[in-house]
Symmetry: C2
Subunit: 271 residues, 2 copies
DNA sequence: AATCCGAGGGCTGTATACAAGTGCGCAACA
DNA sequence: TGTTGCGCACTTGTATACAGCCCTCGGATT
């Protein structure tokens, strides 16, 4: 592997090299092929992927904007470290954003769209025994809500977050999501949206995400414990090379975070 | 000449050309020097700014990730159109994000930090007659809340939104923000945070942002009407592919002026 | 006169070349 | 043997060169 075959495989070649590189690296960061903390250098990636530094550079910028890689003080980037404690924060933000989407959806939904929404919930109930199916249907559900909401700013930020969420999900291996509660939550959200009640929809969706967060956090903790049991870390340890981030220290000095954020992303959703 | 002098002026030269280019273009998009819908081509920007296409390209990618420019189907970018109807959505999202920040701040705040928070509110009350001062203090206030919250994901998304918010604010010319109500809202938020009540803090902040949104929207509508008075076209009604320059005052393309750049305004916040 | 076709310019995307800064290792010295 | 200094290799950041594409403009044809 390695080598240029990576990019030429599949239809990635079709797209621009920069975009293909971006998507490949993004996928590898999310699934852990590229370990947290691992440094990414342009020449290496160039030769490995069979493209020049220019598209690689562009891809890295995109990933940086998405906070999937972080800038090193000397320049260059490394894969963003994965702080399990941050998972809750990511889900907190997501809960608000998706809650807003549900609200907007409730304000705009029309009769024929209610049908599609309910159909997805029914479908989810039908396949509840197969987690992967539930996952897929859940993705469709949230995607539909996003479409109904027609709020591009909120959607853009959601895309922004998706990479982070997916990273933590990948870490959590598989959570048990095919539960009756999980399906019921979706039904509640759907009902609130269908009935055109924005407040109820927002609350229902926010609660649902928080509920999902609890599941993910639990699975995450288990996976984390299991992973750090035998050896601290196999191949690419380096989870936190430096700056153990000791305490809170709420100094006000850092007035300039100065890192924008992106929002391209493909179309994968979750629960 | 024009051109290269732009980047060499000030200490922008110090930074990497790409970053300087990014910040310059960002500022110009926000303040309207670069009109919504205007196409940005790499060769032109290169010669105007006196750098090669590479850093320009990088800057454009950053701006694209921030949704300040949008990709054209043929490739290349144009300044993102400004849809006044979207202002509400931007503020809606911002309300949730800042609300979450306020919540997290309430959960983490400590005694000595309460002092700083209250001091800012008092300061705001003291300068309430000067809108620009109120703006500045308000920026510090929100920045402090963000720091207290210590939620980097939420903060990252906020930064993402900031450009959009600032664009609409720039369009709204000046809203009257030095009102007692405005100051009181901040005090309520501060009290909720200081008392360590997350729910109250989130609600107070969200309400405050929505209140600010109403002000901004009003000013925006006025400005919009004023701008589009003569010509019938209602400002940036939608995505008008070509011939932009409907709405606001400043056209770009001037080519000349010595240095209209002025303050990059790296740390501007809002109310 | 209107339309179709072809040449041209310009733009993006990609590749390569060049310069400067940084860290690391090795070697010499105390 | 420990320490210190020098030098090298590597990296990023920037500039330039090259290829393909689209869009436009001009002319010839029907």
């Amino acid at each position: 592997m390695t080598s240029a075959a990576i990019l030429s495989s599949g239809d990635l070649r079709r797209q621009s090299g920069a975009r293909a590189t971006y998507e490949l690296l993004r996928a590898q960061i999310i699934d852990g092929t590229l370990a947290p903390g691992e440094r990414l250098t342009e020449p290496v990636l160039s030769t490995q992927l069979g493209v020049s530094r220019t598209p690689v550079r562009e891809a890295l910028r995109l990933l940086q904007a998405e906070s999937l890689v972080v800038e090193l003080p000397t320049g260059g980037v490394r894969v963003a470290p994965l702080d399990v404690d941050d998972a809750r924060r990511v889900y907190d933000v997501r809960a608000r954003l998706e809650g807003l989407l549900a609200r907007d959806a409730a304000e705009r939904i029309r009769a024929e769209e209610v049908v599609a929404l309910n159909r997805l919930v029914d479908l989810m109930a039908a396949v509840r025994d197969h987690d992967d199916e539930v996952l897929r249907v859940g993705a469709d559900f949230h995607a539909l809500v996003e479409t109904l909401a027609d709020n591009r700013w909120c959607a853009a930020l959601m895309h922004q977050l998706r990479g982070q969420v997916d990273r933590y999900r990948a870490l959590a291996a598989h959570e048990r999501i095919g539960t009756n509660e999980h399906v019921d939550e979706h039904r509640l959200v759907a009902q609130a949206i269908a009935s055109g009640d924005p407040d109820a929809a927002e609350v229902a969706m926010r609660d649902h995400i928080h509920s999902s967060a609890a599941l993910a956090e639990q699975a995450l903790r288990l996976a984390s414990v299991a992973a750090s049991g035998p050896s601290t870390a196999p191949a690419g340890s380096a989870a936190m090379p430096r700056v153990p981030a000791p305490a809170t220290t709420v100094t006000a000095e850092s007035t300039t975070p100065a890192e924008p954020i992106a929002a391209p992303a493909s179309s994968d959703e979750q629960e």
